[in-house]
């Protein structure tokens, strides 16, 4: 801290008597959510509101020959039936590319398909009616003539010459390719005593937010303004995109984000059907609401993962890892998602493989291909679970090959805790990580040796349990390096405005958003701590482009680190301003004053001088009593973006303890541990719960979640009964521990924590399963780890 008054008191915002930073305090917004008084977009109703239902292509790839809506338009309650061509008159298409992903290409995508549907579920017409059920009734009467085209469904053959090209104008089905060759890979493999290879398969899965995507668009023709109520993680991004494609000025678009029923990256995008809803509101000059039903959610919410990666590791008998090499392919659907693109996940896989380890020898290739399935894009943990599963899977295989304990091989190869700053062969820069401290803490938490003894004892009785370890790094606090440098108007900086109101309470507007992570809480905690104001007196406003500073929002584990730092800086300015006012009123020197518990006090002795509500009363109602020429400023705004490092990397390690029923192929999770290092912890409970929630999403990927397409591109399990997500009955208790290495790129020192749980959970489980099955000489490198996968591996079926 460099504030002079605080230097005098010797206290930083972290250890002031009324500091909330580092303390578990309940989130301020829970009451309304628990009482059913939240307001989600799906709850909202506006006067003259109409409902839109989208008629969606039943084919993965088909030409639209003719749409006949005559009968549908005559149905009671139907307001309009709009085709893609008709809607294209009010909204322009887009292409999801970023210039820094060199060579990334995609085709123009329309809000509603105009002449061709490219995946099962792509909208081909919109039916707008006075009610959702009526619109669905009418949708059944819209007849569409399709010419079914050959679908491209298998990513492994998408680049074969005999495979049709989905967008002929692009030349081939290759959206993006990246190659990397660092160090001396061939020599390193040659020097290795053992080279272990494996093929890793990652199923396609999706976010399954409990509230489906929902948007309510209200074009007010009198104001010539569009208000968009949307459950989104990035309001300003949506404002920009909506304005650009609807031919509006950004000032004509307001995006409001109220309560959001789960996001996880699913709601950081703006979807074609949402864009269509905005266009329909403008076209029909009335509010139009779209709420995806669950089947639509599965067919159109972005999917993720779906990678097949051949990989190998070179290791010496002494445990030294000499090199990693991967050859990855992923299928992203027919378009690169706009505006964040669908190449980021593959790019991250290349960036992150081998990340925790010292070896600088690394070769990688990824190919990102088009296919006629739903679009994939950024979902919680982007690339991390894949990179981590590959890396940690290889490390365990190498350890097994040379007969070394999984802990020991990691000890010998994880980057030393005193080696920072340093970099990775893929060009990542690490400021300060704590792999070894994390490993030590994990071993203590899980009582590793005792667990190994228990495992050995049970194995004698035919009970097969396994321990799986997975170290990871996580990208957080992204600077402009993610999107801005590629030309996307997605802000990497965030802003916070703080003001003292006339009753001495604080109102704080922030550009980060809340979807349950605790953005509101952490902002109030920071502001309250810096100002010396009770948290209960700090009100946080977020999610409204008209009423918050401009900024990125809440995604990529950035809310606390970037939005939190902006809040800290804004509150510091306001604090100084308040003390200037107090000094003027009290005829004292600002640096002799402090604010504690909602009152200005003397630094020396702590005697209360003036309460904040009294100070505010003077400023707002009796400014005539202030010294001539003195202008109080009880509102302050600051913005922040990290500048020293493109990303603030965090690290951690996870462990899984589980039992495999080798007769039936079922896996029972018994316990899970996480040690992570997100730097300064603002609210320990919120961090722990982010970790736990993230872990369980990773466990879902490991055991259950899978978008299963058939060879014709039909998603065959697009409902909640057939797409399995983790439920309480099968999930383990999860212990979380922390190491704290603050980032110096900012005063707060906080890094992100939202995706760390997801990053390594599947890797830990897969390694544990392979540990459990090691007596059978079986290795599984495919998720989800279904009973069928296990029984097949064991040769039982």
């Amino acid at each position: 801290m460099n504030d002079s008054s605080e230097k005098q008191s010797g206290l930083s915002v972290l250890d002031r008597p009324n500091s909330y930073i580092g303390k578990t305090v309940p989130r301020p917004n829970l009451g309304r959510l628990m009482q059913g008084r939240g307001q989600y977009v799906s709850d909202m109703v506006l006067p003259r509101m109409a409902h839109v239902v989208f008629l969606r292509s039943p084919y993965a790839h088909a030409r639209i020959l003719k749409i006949d809506a005559t009968e549908a338009k005559a149905m009671p309650g139907v307001i309009a039936v709009v085709t893609g061509a008709e809607l294209a008159k009010v909204i322009t298409p887009w292409v999801g590319v970023l210039s820094h992903l060199k060579g990334l290409k995609s085709a123009p995508q329309h809000a509603i398909a105009t002449d061709r549907a490219c995946w099962q579920g792509e909208a081909v017409a919109a039916i707008v009616a006075t009610g959702r059920a009526l619109a669905e009734d009418a949708a059944e009467l819209v007849s569409v003539d399709y010419e079914e085209l050959v679908p491209v469904t298998d990513m492994r053959t998408a680049l074969d010459p005999e495979t049709p090209v989905i967008h002929p104008e692009l030349g081939d089905n290759l959206a993006f390719e990246r190659n990397l060759d660092a160090g001396a890979v061939d020599q390193a493999f040659k020097d290795s005593d053992e080279v272990v290879e494996a093929k890793f398969v990652f199923g396609r899965h999706t976010g399954v937010t409990l509230e489906p995507r929902a948007v309510l668009a209200d074009w007010n023709s009198g104001e010539e303004r569009l208000t968009v109520y949307l459950g989104t993680q990035a309001p300003h991004m949506v404002q920009n995109i909506a304005a650009m494609h609807l031919g509006l000025d950004e000032a004509q678009v307001r995006v409001v984000c109220k309560d959001v029923g789960g996001s996880f990256g699913i709601k950081v995008h703006i979807y074609a059907d949402e864009m269509a809803t905005l266009a329909l509101s403008k076209l029909l000059r009335r509010p139009v609401k779209f709420v995806a039903d669950r089947v639509e959610s599965f067919n159109t919410d972005i999917h993720a993962r779906d990678h097949v990666c051949k990989a190998r590791i070179g290791v010496s008998k002494n445990g030294t890892i000499n090199a990693f090499e991967i050859d990855d392919v992923t299928g992203i659907g027919p378009y690169s998602m706009y505006p964040r693109t669908s190449a980021i996940e593959a790019n991250q896989v290349i960036n992150l493989v081998g990340g925790p380890y010292t070896t600088q020898n690394y070769r990688a290739r990824t190919r990102v291909v088009f296919q006629n399935k739903n679009v994939t894009c950024q979902y919680r943990g982007v690339g991390h679970p894949i990179a981590c599963s590959i890396t940690e899977g290889l490390v365990d295989l190498a350890a097994q090959r040379i007969g070394m304990d999984p802990i020991e091989i990691r000890r010998r190869n994880l980057i030393r805790d005193d080696a920072y700053p340093c970099g990775s062969p893929s060009g990542l820069k690490f400021e300060a990580l704590s792999h070894h401290a994390s490993l030590d803490k994990l071993i203590a938490m899980m009582n590793y040796d005792a667990l190994r003894a228990e495992q050995a004892e049970l194995r004698k009785r035919g009970i097969y349990r396994g321990i799986g370890i997975a170290s990871f790094i996580e990208v957080t606090n992204p600077s402009a390096a993610f999107y801005g440098v590629g030309g996307a108007r997605i802000s990497s900086q965030d802003g916070v405005a703080v003001r003292l109101d006339a009753t001495g309470r604080v109102i704080c507007q922030t550009s980060i958003t809340e979807q349950g992570q605790g953005s509101e809480s952490l902002t109030a905690q920071i502001v309250g701590s810096v100002l010396g104001v009770s948290m209960g007196r700090v009100r946080v406003i977020l999610g409204d482009t008209d009423n918050t500073p401009y900024g990125g929002g809440t995604w990529a584990s950035r809310g606390a680190g970037i939005g939190g730092e902006a809040a800290l800086q804004a509150a510091k300015v306001l604090r100084k301003n308040i003390l200037d006012v107090a000094a003027a009123i009290l005829q004292a020197k600002p640096h002799d004053l402090d604010i504690i518990d909602n009152a200005v006090v003397d630094v020396q002795g702590g005697q209360q001088r003036i309460e904040l509500h009294e100070l505010a009363r003077v400023v707002y109602f009796r400014p005539d009593t202030l010294p001539p020429g003195f202008q109080p400023e009880l509102m302050a705004t600051r913005h922040f973006v990290p500048r020293e490092y493109p990303f603030a990397f965090t690290n951690g390690i996870q462990a899984s303890w589980l039992e495999v029923d080798t007769q039936a192929g079922f896996i029972k999770l018994l316990k899970h541990w996480v040690v992570e290092d997100c730097g300064t912890i603002i609210n320990p409970q919120l961090v722990d719960e982010q970790i736990r929630g993230g872990v369980v999403q990773g466990l879902g990927a490991a055991l259950y979640e899978h978008c299963i397409y058939d060879e014709r591109g039909q998603l065959t399990n697009a409902n909640m009964a057939d797409y399995l997500v983790p439920m309480s009955g099968e999930m383990p208790d999860i212990d979380v521990g922390h190491i704290v290495s603050p980032t110096l790129d900012g005063e707060l020192g906080a890094k992100g924590a939202g995706e760390a749980g997801t990053a390594a959970a599947a890797a830990a489980v897969t390694n544990a399963v392979n540990d459990a099955l090691s007596p059978f000489n079986v290795t599984v490198t495919e998720i989800p780890l279904t009973p069928r996968v296990i029984l097949t591996a064991l040769g039982r079926i």
């Binding site: 959510l33 409990l210 309560d259 029923g261 789960g262 099968e730």
Partner: protein, 161 residues
């Protein structure tokens, strides 16, 4: 008939009469006719549990019950349980434990949690996990929810935590 049908029932202790289409399910009736939007709709096919309400004292999926089937029934929603104070301790435990994040599952989860606390007041963690296993939460990973329900069970039965 497919025409609106009159129904009379009690919702959160208040008498309600309405004309509803036979196809209207109870969740949509509560949300759209009565403005009780605390009952959430997550899947509409009875899997996610977000629409869990109490009908005649039993928890049910409101999306799997027609409004016309609720004739003469006593329906209780999260708004009713909150206003009566019946679950204020459980809600406090959820708050203290941060057993909710986005909050979308929470009304249904509280309904299911209150159900086990009523029927199996001595339930252990495994029984709690099993009882809640029809209610999907995507945010928390369930651990905190189980903690909060367990803490409430212990507090209600007068045991130290």
């Amino acid at each position: 008939m497919t025409n609106p049908t009159p129904i009379s029932l009690t919702v959160n202790g208040e008498s309600v009469s309405a004309q509803v289409l036979p196809r209207l399910n109870l969740a949509d009736f509560l949300r759209e006719h009565l403005g009780l939007t605390g009952t959430h709709v997550g899947c509409e096919h009875g899997v996610c549990g977000a629409c869990t309400v109490r009908v005649n004292g039993d928890i049910v999926r409101a999306c799997l019950l027609l409004a016309v089937q609720a004739e003469d029934a006593s329906v209780e929603t999260i708004e009713g349980l909150s206003d009566s104070g019946e679950i204020s301790d459980l809600q406090a435990a959820f708050q203290n434990r941060n057993a909710l994040q986005c909050g979308y599952c929470t009304p249904g989860m509280l309904m299911a949690a209150q159900d086990i606390l009523t029927h199996e007041p001595q339930a252990d963690r495994e029984q709690i996990r099993e009882h809640l296993s029809g209610n999907y939460c995507r945010c928390t990973g369930y651990h905190a929810i189980v903690d909060a329900v367990e803490a409430t069970a212990r507090a209600r039965s007068g045991q130290a935590r």
